[in-house]
Symmetry: C3
Subunit: 200 residues, 3 copies
């Protein structure tokens, strides 16, 4: 079940990379590279920072091939990246939840302190999109005055880490935290929750 959601997360993140690359008039190589960095950038940065090795996409070439297939399909059938944005909201929120909580769990397993583990979770969930925007020559979307995004990931990672420290089994704490991030993100969109700073 977890792996299916992870793959769904990769697909959604890759699609957001392809869409942004196409907006910048990139060709197949550019779309693939941006999709790749969006889907794998957060986890890769986390693994470099924690010195975990080998990287997950180095070990599992099927992930990199999946993103290539997606990119080719998106260029053959442009409708593919013109999916209405609201269809992507739920998978994106799910992907954010799963990537972030998994990142926090990996960091914790590597022995980091609670605050740093939560930061690593946020990096895992969010930095693919940051790299996408930097490479596409935009100020990262997630740093601007938008609805809660990194914030949901941070709070959900904290929830997981506190539950875990309180002795709650991973089989309960993990899905609870993923669901928490997903629901908080959907609520932030619906109720227009924004952080202070950046008001125009």
């Amino acid at each position: 079940m977890l792996q299916e959601i992870e793959i769904l997360g990769i697909v959604v993140f890759a699609l957001s990379g392809i869409a942004e690359a196409q907006r910048k008039r990139m060709d197949l190589v550019g779309c693939y590279a941006v999709a790749f960095m969006t889907a794998f950038g957060g986890g890769t940065l986390r693994d470099l920072l924690l010195d975990r090795t080998p990287l997950f996409w180095v070990e599992h070439q099927e992930y990199a091939i999946l993103v290539l297939v997606l990119t080719v399909l998106a260029l053959l059938f442009p409708a593919f990246t013109r999916i209405p944005e609201r269809w992507l909201v739920l998978p994106d929120a799910l992907g954010l939840g799963l990537f972030s909580v998994a990142g926090a769990a990996y960091a914790q397993a590597a022995g980091t302190s609670l605050f740093v583990a939560a930061i690593m979770g946020v990096i895992t969930g969010v930095f693919g999109g940051v790299i996408r925007d930097v490479v596409c020559n935009e100020i990262p979307y997630v740093f601007r005055n938008t609805h809660w995004y990194a914030t949901c990931a941070f709070l959900g990672c904290l929830l997981y880490l506190v539950l875990d420290a309180a002795g709650v089994a991973a089989a309960i704490a993990l899905p609870l935290a993923v669901a928490g991030i997903t629901l908080l993100r959907l609520a932030a969109l619906r109720y227009n929750c924004r952080l202070p700073g950046g008001e125009v």
Copy 2:
């Protein structure tokens, strides 16, 4: 004493990140992320390049929490990042000196050659600001035709490395190099020292 200066360096570098992020209308998450990357980016890149592990801010979560507190304070009290620029000149020059010399010393301890150790020192002192500017969609300030900055770090690191190779005790060579970088930077500002290239 050294640790106090290091913390002062982190504070100054973080403030410069927050100020730049605010100029780009980023919210709390964006300001924190940019402050974090400005303060820790140089040392992190050095440690990745040297394969030193664990990273200093992964081991000391209080540094990451300090930057978060600073960011929240800066958003609550905007005057905080409107400190007159000339008040920041000395702490920034000190931070540059300390970060750079510490970076060169770590590189040397990892067994690198003299020139590479000096480069690692410069990366430690300067790359936080480079990452800040790239993420904020600007050409890195330190690469443009400005007063000596990376140059001071490079010369000071060389001074430390040569003194060390000549058998001078670290307790003398380290503060001498830090003071050298700080004073050279202040002199460069005062006497308008610029490198060739980039003239308009």
Copy 3:
């Protein structure tokens, strides 16, 4: 012989970095930093991703010094970076071939699967230029709708990996793949081969 070509590749990549940095009005520090990242960025990223250590330019300080000498020469004698672009086409194609195939061979030696090894080859050959463009605040040239570039590297790396898997000796497979990338790149320029996507 291989080392001579590698050094030629470093020189060509560094020159392209200096030229771009000068276009952005950077000073000596900026030109050196961009030249450095263009020449060593791809190999450095590959080594970080594969956890290979120490980095090649950390072990061989003469490479970093060579790029510094080049940068100083380019600022003293501006004609140096105004070399007609067509003189650089062959060395650049050769550098791409050599960097990429070497990268794929290193990845394979580290035990990665075939597709990932080819990706690592492309990263080695191409990412120096990507970093150059990101730091210079441009959308990476190689991601835009240009003549085949990364594509040549990818196909050549696959050729090497397939030949190697078929039991062909490295002394034959390596130069064949380097020549294949070089010739394919020259042909792509001559016959105007472009990938789909990014049409204006």
